[in-house]
């Protein structure tokens, strides 16, 4: 079981996390944060294997992970 | 206290160490090389650091770093080198970092010559870099004064959180005179504001030479302006020599000042009431010393500078407020003002009546 936590206010919608996720867990959602960015979200949390590639790739340290 | 015979540059360097300076970075340029050379020998002996920078630009920025880490630091150079350091001096003033910059002035502009001159008056007193900052700027007339002012410079630097400039002309830097050196100061603890790692402080320190916003920058400027204002009330230093009854008053500083002193003595021997106003700080400038002259008695002010065109004369004019005519005796290019030229000029004015 892996838990991804997004600090959505820090997300700038660059899409790096979406691109590197090997299991297509993530997407850029429709919601908009205070800075006006559509932020990343987890669509298929049950598919997450906790590889941390999304968090490593995220420039803005948006994603923290529990396993 | 014991008097010792020392060269100007070396006396300044030794005094700086006694005043607590523990970091020096500099770059070779004549006529100030004795200062970095002395520091390279003397600083390590007291646990200090000497670095020969790859340029004046690097040297003054090393001083910026050492000062940011809370150590009393200085650099020295000569006119063209000070132009290069002006970037760093502006940053030191912007960040309000205690430090000392010594300019052993030579002739200019451009490469000029390596001989003594006073062509850097405006630069030293008003614009040692961009951004409209000020420093206290000392212009010693003797080596003892150079020693005393160097000691004082570090006290003021710490008191004001600001760089201080000492601007001896090349003559003062090069001559030897007996001096009495001050005692070694105890090195203070690293100040709270220094950037050395936040440790147990509980907050971070950020040393920066500009504001993050327009409002912050204006606040920085306003706070600095208050400091500069205070100097004009409290820190003006000037020597008035036989001005009480003088009819001919010389305005001169540094080497020109000491030469004028001899001229005053000789003219008085010849029955001419001469006097001298010798600024010791050119920033803040002693305007009142000129303002307070009795214009019903003083016939002429004679501005004597080793600078062509004259520079300090602009400040003298502001002090005199047009009430007394001003004449000049000037030299430049590294030519030292001659006492005989000053006397000749004065006697000519006396003859004119």
């Amino acid at each position: 079981m892996v838990n991804l936590e997004f600090n959505v206010e820090a997300c700038k919608s660059c899409g790096f996390c979406v691109k590197v996720c090997p299991k297509q867990v993530l997407s850029i959602g429709e919601h908009i944060n205070k800075k006006g960015y559509r932020y990343a979200q987890s669509d298929n949390p049950e598919e997450c294997i906790g590889c941390k590639m999304c968090a490593a790739m995220c420039p803005d340290a948006v994603i923290e992970i529990w396993k | 206290m014991e008097q010792i015979f020392m060269k100007g540059c070396e006396a300044i360097a030794e005094t700086a160490i006694r005043a607590g300076c523990r970091f020096f970075a500099g770059y070779p340029i004549t006529p100030q090389n004795e200062m970095p050379e002395y520091m390279s020998r003397a600083l390590p002996r007291v646990g200090g650091t000497f670095v020969q920078g790859e340029s004046e630009v690097a040297s003054v920025n090393m001083v910026y770093g050492a000062a940011a880490a809370g150590t009393l630091a200085m650099t020295s150079s000569s006119s063209p080198g000070i132009s290069l350091k002006s970037e760093g001096i502006s940053h030191l003033a912007g960040a309000r970092l205690p430090s000392l910059i010594v300019n052993v002035m030579r002739a200019g502009p451009g490469m000029g010559t390596i001989q003594p001159a006073q062509n850097d008056y405006f630069q030293a007193s008003k614009a040692s870099g961009h951004g409209g900052f000020r420093t206290i700027t000392f212009v010693p007339g003797t080596l003892q004064e150079a020693v005393d002012l160097t000691y004082l410079a570090f006290e003021y630097a710490v008191r004001d959180h600001n760089p201080v400039i000492l601007a001896p002309d090349g003559f003062i830097g090069a001559i030897m005179e007996p001096v009495t050196l001050p005692d070694f100061k105890e090195i203070p603890e690293t100040p709270d504001w220094a950037a050395i790692g936040y440790g147990k402080r509980g907050h971070i320190n950020l040393i920066k030479s500009g504001g993050a916003t327009e409002a912050e920058q204006q606040e920085i400027n306003e706070s600095a302006a208050k400091l500069y204002e205070r100097w004009t009330r409290e820190d003006v230093m000037v020597e008035a020599y036989h001005t009480e009854d003088a009819e001919y008053v010389f305005a001169a500083y540094g080497t020109s000042g000491r030469i004028c002193k001899s001229a005053v003595d000789e003219l008085r021997d010849r029955g001419i009431k001469a006097g001298l106003i010798r600024p010791i700080t050119i920033s803040p400038f002693p305007y009142n010393a000129f303002k307070n002259l009795d214009d019903t008695r003083v016939k002429y002010i004679i501005d004597v500078e080793m600078a062509i065109p004259a520079q300090m004369i602009e400040d003298v004019k502001m002090g005199v407020e047009g009430k007394i005519p001003i004449e000049t005796v000037l030299s430049s290019g590294g030519n030292i003002i001659r006492t005989s030229d000053i006397i000749q000029k004065t006697e000519a004015l006396v003859k004119e009546g």
Partner: protein
């Protein structure tokens, strides 16, 4: 549950001022992780440049000194020489380090100053709006090379890691990228080594990290990832150019 990826403490809680997808953020983050992992935050001083890297002033949870453009290595020399127990690093872009600050970096490296230099090379002046840098690729369009960088008049990209590795004093000089998770992990290890060298009193370490500038490159953040792969890496090979430790072993 165990936390397996954490935002580092060497960064504060605010959102960085860097553009979306800017790898300044990535490099800052992994450096902050290294500082956390080495447990050196409380005695670290970050010497910031002039350029986008200056924005780190709002972001690092460390003591900082902002230096004049290009002068960070000189400023860091002053800090480290008077406070040798502090862990000092400069964080400089390519305009800052390779152009206006070329003299300062070369001589600091040559003196073997015992600090760490992080050199962020994105082949362009970002803060000022996308002008040519010494590291701009041949043919790359910038606001001052509208027809692309022409080597006949503008010269070729300067390879700072290779240049500095030629000097005798530096102990570790390497180049990394951060456009894939694997590269990021390697870069982080290089940064760690560059800090460890300083902690061990070994001397000067420089880590060059290839970065991007989506804004002035005029492409989406995602597109910069492949641009680095296809173009930047072809000009700036990754690798360790000098490692005193390996030379001795």
């Amino acid at each position: 549950m165990e936390k397996i990826y954490t935002r580092p403490n060497a960064l504060n809680k605010s959102v960085s001022g860097y553009c979306p997808g800017c790898m300044h953020s990535t490099i800052t983050k992994i450096t902050a992780q290294v500082i956390d992992e080495l447990g050196i935050g409380e005695r670290t001083v970050c010497v910031l440049p002039v350029g986008c890297g200056t924005l780190g002033a709002l972001y690092w949870n460390l003591d900082m000194v902002i230096s004049a453009h290009g002068r960070a290595p000189a400023v860091a020399t002053g800090v480290k020489r008077v406070s040798p127990d502090s862990v000092v690093f400069t964080y400089q872009g390519d305009g800052d380090l390779a152009s206006i600050g070329l003299s300062e970096i070369m001589h600091a490296a040559n003196r073997g100053e015992n600090y760490t230099v992080l050199f962020i090379n994105n082949s362009i002046y970002g803060m000022t709006g996308g002008q040519m840098a010494p590291t701009t690729l041949v043919g790359q369009k910038t606001t001052t090379t509208p027809g692309g960088r022409n080597p006949d008049t503008d010269g070729f990209p300067m390879k700072m890691a290779e240049l500095i590795a030629q000097l005798t004093s530096p102990v570790y000089v390497a180049r990394f990228a951060v456009n894939t998770p694997a590269y990021i992990n390697k870069a982080k290890e290089g940064i760690r080594k560059a800090f460890q060298n300083q902690l061990d009193g070994k001397g000067f370490s420089l880590v060059e990290i290839l970065s991007n500038c989506p804004t002035t490159w005029g492409m989406s953040p995602i597109d910069t990832l492949s641009y680095i792969n296809d173009n930047t890496l072809a000009e700036f090979p990754l690798g360790v150019f000098k490692d005193r430790e390996e030379e001795q072993s």
